[in-house]
């Protein structure tokens, strides 16, 4: 029995310590509050994140976050509460559901559309090169006998020049 006496004496102390420890766990720091708050926006102060907004309404919101954190609620649970209570507009990142989905799809759509039109443009360039940049081929020496598809008038002209040169 003597061996257990120190333990028995410690027991009341341990029981007293429990509430103290529990209290320490529920103490929520400003940093913890701001970690959640920076992902929320108060509709009154548009474009100002909740963690830096100085109005009384935003201070009230931060205190509510503190209370919810001390109750053990997670960041997602708190954000869901605010979205349900005040609308999705209070979320820094709109949920990827319903009409808000368009916000997420729009950049993707823009990239796909941009790539599509760029490829089309490049193909168009290959098909119809710009005359300003087209390399002009050096005219070859044609003869009527060559039969390479040159217009007959041009062939006649060249043949006459050749004949005149030979006569000289």
């Amino acid at each position: 029995m003597r061996r257990f006496l120190p333990l028995l004496l410690l027991l009341p102390l341990l029981l007293l310590a429990r509430p103290v420890l529990a209290q320490e766990n529920t103490t929520v720091t400003d940093d913890q509050v701001n970690e959640v708050a920076r992902e929320l926006y108060c509709p009154i102060c548009e474009n100002v994140p909740l963690d830096v907004c100085p109005t009384q309404a935003c201070k009230d919101w931060r205190e509510l976050i503190r209370a919810q954190l001390s109750e053990g609620q997670s960041k997602e649970q708190i954000k869901n509460y605010f979205a349900t209570r005040y609308g999705n507009e209070v979320l820094a990142e709109p949920p990827a559901t319903g009409f808000s989905l368009i916000v997420w799809l729009l950049p993707l759509l823009a990239v796909v559309a941009g790539a599509f039109f760029f490829v089309r443009y490049l193909r168009g360039l290959q098909r119809d090169p710009d005359p300003a940049f087209a390399v002009t081929a050096r005219p070859e020496h044609h003869t009527p006998a060559a039969g390479n598809g040159s217009p007959p008038a041009e062939d006649d002209y060249l043949a006459r020049i050749e004949r005149e040169l030979q006569d000289e």
Binding site: A57, D60, R85, A113
Partner: protein, 196 residues
């Protein structure tokens, strides 16, 4: 009929199957049109003006705070209040100017409640415990509830608090008060609407 003429080059038959590039092109244009329509709709909604005097009050439903219901109902709509004069007041516990009119509204409610007038408080962007503290601080007894998802404020296009809408028995807005209300205005508007 389709017999080939002697010496003629046979004509290559053209395929009429679906062209994926054309479909993708059409799809992209369709998506662009949908996005532009959605943006246009959003712009139209943003620029909706606040309902003014002479216009029909937008319908809404309010879920009351515990102990602040209307005729023992936890939820009520404006339609259910048809035939009564409605004083719709937007407020918040953080709003300093709301405190100037809180007592006035409560006294007017007590004065007119048995004459077919409903006072309806809507807490705008407020934290519920603070709202309840405010109601207790000013001994408010008229129906009150939070503006969930700011749905009512959006319909009435309020620009801040306090704002008060006087709604007649037929659901027509008779006056919009921006800022704190006065005793004279309350009496004048309610008397006029009750006489209709």
């Amino acid at each position: 009929m389709n017999e080939a003429l002697p010496g003629a080059t046979p004509v290559e038959e053209t395929t009429t199957g679906p062209n994926p590039a054309r479909w993708l092109n059409a799809l992209i244009w369709l998506a662009v049109i949908v996005v532009l329509a959605a943006l246009g709709w959003g712009l139209i909604n943003v620029n909706t003006p606040r309902p003014a005097a002479g216009e029909t009050a937008p319908p809404f439903e309010v879920q009351f705070f515990n102990g602040y219901g209307w005729e023992d109902r936890p939820v009520a709509s404006l339609d259910e209040m048809s035939g009564k004069v409605v004083v719709l007041n937007f407020w918040a516990s953080w709003c300093v100017e709301c405190r100037l009119e809180a007592d006035l509204l409560e006294q007017a409610w007590r004065k007119y409640r048995d004459h077919g007038v409903v006072f309806l408080g809507v807490a705008y962007i407020d934290v519920e415990p603070n709202s309840l503290d405010y109601l207790q601080e000013f001994n408010v007894t008229y129906p009150n509830g939070p503006d969930l998802r700011s749905a009512i404020a959006e319909r009435y296009e309020i620009t801040g608090v306090p704002e008060t809408f006087f709604i007649g028995k037929d659901g027509t807005i008779s006056h919009v008060q921006i800022g704190p209300i006065t005793q004279a205005l309350l009496d004048q508007q309610i008397a006029m609407l009750l006489a209709q």
